[in-house]
Symmetry: C2
Subunit: 298 residues, 2 copies
Amino acid sequence: MSLSIAHLGPTGTYAEAAALAYSQWLTQETGQQSFLCSYPSIAQTLQAVANGEASLGVVPIENSLEGSVTMTMDALWRLDNLQIQQSLILPIAHALLSCAEDLTLIRTIYSHPQALAQCQGWIDKFLPSAQLVPTNATTEALQHLEQDKTSGAIASQRAAQLYNLPILACPINDYPDNHTRFLVVSLNPSSSGSHTSLAFSVPANVPGALAKLLHIFASRNINLSRIESRPTKRSLGEYLFFIDIEANANVPSIQSALTELKLHTETLKIFGSYPILPINSNNQDKTERDTLNEETFQ
Amino acid sequence: MSLSIAHLGPTGTYAEAAALAYSQWLTQETGQQSFLCSYPSIAQTLQAVANGEASLGVVPIENSLEGSVTMTMDALWRLDNLQIQQSLILPIAHALLSCAEDLTLIRTIYSHPQALAQCQGWIDKFLPSAQLVPTNATTEALQHLEQDKTSGAIASQRAAQLYNLPILACPINDYPDNHTRFLVVSLNPSSSGSHTSLAFSVPANVPGALAKLLHIFASRNINLSRIESRPTKRSLGEYLFFIDIEANANVPSIQSALTELKLHTETLKIFGSYPILPINSNNQDKTERDTLNEETFQ
């Protein structure tokens, strides 16, 4: 039976590229066939998995420049029953797509505000007088290109392939280290792997509550590889904490920390222990580049 | 001499309402006159203060539903020389603005995606078949209303006043507790007040570094009222930590914690000690309501 993999759409987004990479890995490693289903938001992607409408979901959790993806954290907390099966990291390379014959003809650049911000230095250098127009999705920017040959759009190399649009320059992001980490989630319990994720709320108005909880980990020399807070949405200044631990939840020191944590938290949710997927992102990136328009400007 | 207060524009945004409330408080409390200058982004607002182009800046730092405003944190870290003078909390009440005679005539609702998301429950109940159209700023939504009497926009009550547009319903946000906390920053050193904010980066690849740093606070029973991480933008998995402490930096236990912290962090930045401004947001909200269009639907 082929598995359905939910992801944020439309085609050409980085989330679809991550789901595709995961689907290919799944076939290679286990022989399992799968197909992708796109959803209009991260919340709807995770809801589809929680409902059993999709077998797996692939969602972004953090980017090396933008930080945490808060929609993913809020939905994981709210939906309650999702478990993290794997984590995978994908490089993000922004490209300038345009039907213009060369860079000097470009007057307007369309893209998602985050993509525009991530390429600001390159734009200032090569297209300082171009007008920047924010769009809601990276791929929404593409619809302007064919009608207006003085316009460009910042999108992925995969979007250029899918929509058959020329790449004038790539990569154009200012920080070379631009990666997004994705989570693969499902309803299956997950307990094997080197990383554990959890989240908790603390009783309101207990002074020192956070310090006490962090001490549970510090006193056992447990390193937290990530700590993030999110608002409880009840009152300003009340937070949920999301923590990643570089260890399996069955390790005795972690088990004892989790037992103690349960006594001092209001709600504790454990999203499972999971491996970091050995997807060789450089190879994948290289293959994508090789099949791309040769006008690529390095 | 009148002081200039930088804020994110255009007129009608919640950031302008916060700057206005601060300006009024300043006149009442100190007799100091001030005027507002709007900037197109949070980064440019803070840059203007860092350059000495504006005397003060008012920027959002966290919202009770959406969490931290990452642009503010990134700019505070990058600009280096800004100090927090005050913190103030403003209620956020979304209103449905429209030239339609009544709710049943509305076919399309324009607003910023966050505002649309925060009113989703209300929309599902009262306008379930309306088409939702995201815009880049809450106020950008307003330009559609006069031409198209079947359209509505979600914006602030102040925007309704400024653009002279009728309010059909208010408040329409699903969570009644919707507040945004703003910071007032300047180049002046700040050392008086009950709250201290700081941020630090930790040396890369030192296992247990975060646990050790948190232990510095926990072992002194110092409660952290907020902890947030941001990516360093160097490499995925490397973070800066932003911490708020409910105490003045001159309290001996905090001084000793900061001295120890300095030894174990790569870079430590202290944004000052400051008070929470006693702006009575309910009164301010009431005054605004009283002067508003009477069609308000409660």
